[in-house]
């Protein structure tokens, strides 16, 4: 499998394209990705969004904050890089393997749907041996679904789940909470 990273040199951050490619290669193997991966880093923003384009090659458009070391601004963190890539590649695999056909496009996911899917990815990442702070994802889940015991129970179920379809993920997270639309 091939991994390419752009740009090769950075002007606003102290990132390393070769190291990024090595981490992406490791993570792609770990998450069972079977096709080339292209990582395009936007170093002009500290935000941390990632856009995924699926095709014969998986293209990840990554904002630099997604790979950044929060202790050392503008420097790269191996842990953050691996975690961000794994989250995206697991989502890519979900869509490619089937069962996620009814899932909206990434741009059309509600904040609740995005939080649920992130939780599902993070639980699997933890079981793959990657460094993940569960409480961080629990807090995000609570922000989207509510600060109640029922919501916490649903979080635990999603976290522990494997091989879900989009419909199963929705029913695990569904409740009376209002849907919060993306801005």
């Amino acid at each position: 499998m091939t991994v390419t990273v752009t740009p090769e040199e950075f002007r606003f951050v102290h990132f390393d394209a070769a190291q990024t490619a090595r981490i992406a290669d490791d993570v792609a193997r770990l998450t069972g990705i079977d096709r080339p991966v292209q990582v395009e880093i936007d170093e002009t923003t500290p935000l941390s969004r990632v856009r995924i384009d699926l095709g014969d090659t998986i293209v990840l458009h990554v904002e630099s904050g997604a790979f950044e070391d929060t202790k050392r601004p503008r420097h790269q963190s191996e842990t953050a890089t691996a975690a961000s890539l794994a989250r995206c590649l697991l989502k890519a695999r979900d869509r490619l393997e089937g069962g996620f056909g009814e899932a909206p496009t990434d741009d059309d996911l509600t904040l609740q749907q995005a939080a649920a899917w992130d939780t599902y990815c993070a639980g699997r990442m933890a079981r793959l041996g990657l460094t993940v702070n569960q409480q961080r994802f629990r807090y995000n889940f609570r922000n989207r679904f509510g600060f109640t015991d029922q919501v916490d129970t649903r979080f635990e179920r999603v976290w522990a789940a494997d091989a879900l379809t989009w419909g199963e993920l929705q029913s695990l997270t569904s409740g009376e909470s209002m849907v919060v639309d993306a801005p």
Binding site: F12, T44, P73, Q135, R136, F147
Partner: protein, 279 residues
């Protein structure tokens, strides 16, 4: 015990990474293309990255509380009672240290609740730097009026965030800490007025120092009335803390001007000006 403790020697374990104000603010990415990317930078729950941004801001509050505790404690110790600082001023600083110690503990618990580890984000040491002046009045102007004034703005933004997100602990804790901060800022306002009542020159110097510290933060575009700033200006709480209407207007105006300067700085960095690189 030594007096006037340097910022480089603050006691921190290996979990903490400290950065200077220059490093913190010389990041051109923070305002590059800001207008085309976002309608707003304000921290609100409807942002996709809301919980992560709140975690980062909460960690900033946490390290600010540690430094506020250290600064107030030093002011109790660094000056001779009576000749250099009135006893009642030191008593206020002791009371503040007590409050800040409680705020540190609250911040640690909130960080834990939000899924943040101690030291997970860089520690900007600017608050303690402002507490290193050898004139207690300048410390009160720089720390209590400028930086704790900023704390009022930050706590108000976080309290609103907790309220909108429905987080019962965040909203509650921020509200209590906000009440303490208003008191700390008022201490700064009251002591500045009392001590410099018959010393116009000293008052002028203190107010200039406060303005320098205020501008440091405004330069980053961190706090202003503009939605491009993550933190708003809490006008009502500032009034309660002893700021005059003119002072609040001056800060508002300076903050907006500084945000524009910052955007120009970022544009220069984008054009290849390497002086923007803090590394």
């Amino acid at each position: 015990m030594r007096k006037f403790f340097p910022v480089e020697e603050l006691a921190r374990d290996q979990r903490f990474e400290q950065i200077t104000m220059r490093q913190a603010q010389a990041d051109p990415r923070t305002v590059l293309n800001a207008e085309s990317r976002n309608k707003t930078n304000r921290l609100t729950p409807d942002r996709a990255d809301a919980s992560d941004r709140a975690r980062g801001l909460m960690h900033g509050i946490f390290v600010g509380e540690i430094q506020a505790l250290e600064g107030a404690g030093r002011t109790c110790w660094d000056f001779e009672t009576g000749t250099e600082a009135p006893f009642a001023l030191k008593l206020d600083m002791a009371r503040q240290a007590w409050d800040e110690a409680r705020h540190v503990e609250i911040s640690v618990k909130l960080s834990d609740w939000m899924g943040t580890e101690i030291g997970q984000f860089a520690e900007n040491t600017v608050l303690f730097e402002a507490a290193c002046s050898n004139d207690p009045v300048l410390r009160l102007a720089g720390v209590n009026r400028a930086l704790e004034g900023l704390a009022i703005d930050v706590f108000t933004t976080m309290k609103e965030f907790g309220d909108l997100a429905g987080d019962p602990f965040l909203e509650f804790c921020e509200d209590w800490m906000l009440a303490d901060e208003v008191t700390h800022v008022k201490m700064g306002s009251d002591w500045l007025r009392r001590i410099t009542e018959n010393d116009a020159e000293r008052r002028k110097k203190a107010l200039e120092f406060q303005q320098v510290v205020d501008k440091l933060f405004s330069f980053g575009g961190t706090r202003s009335d503009s939605k491009e700033s993550p933190i708003g200006l809490a006008r009502r709480f500032r009034e309660l803390a002893g700021f005059t209407d003119t002072e609040v207007e001056d800060i508002a105006e300076m903050s907006l001007k500084a945000l524009e300067e910052r955007k120009a700085f970022a544009a220069a960095a984008l054009a290849g000006d390497t002086t923007a690189d803090p590394a």
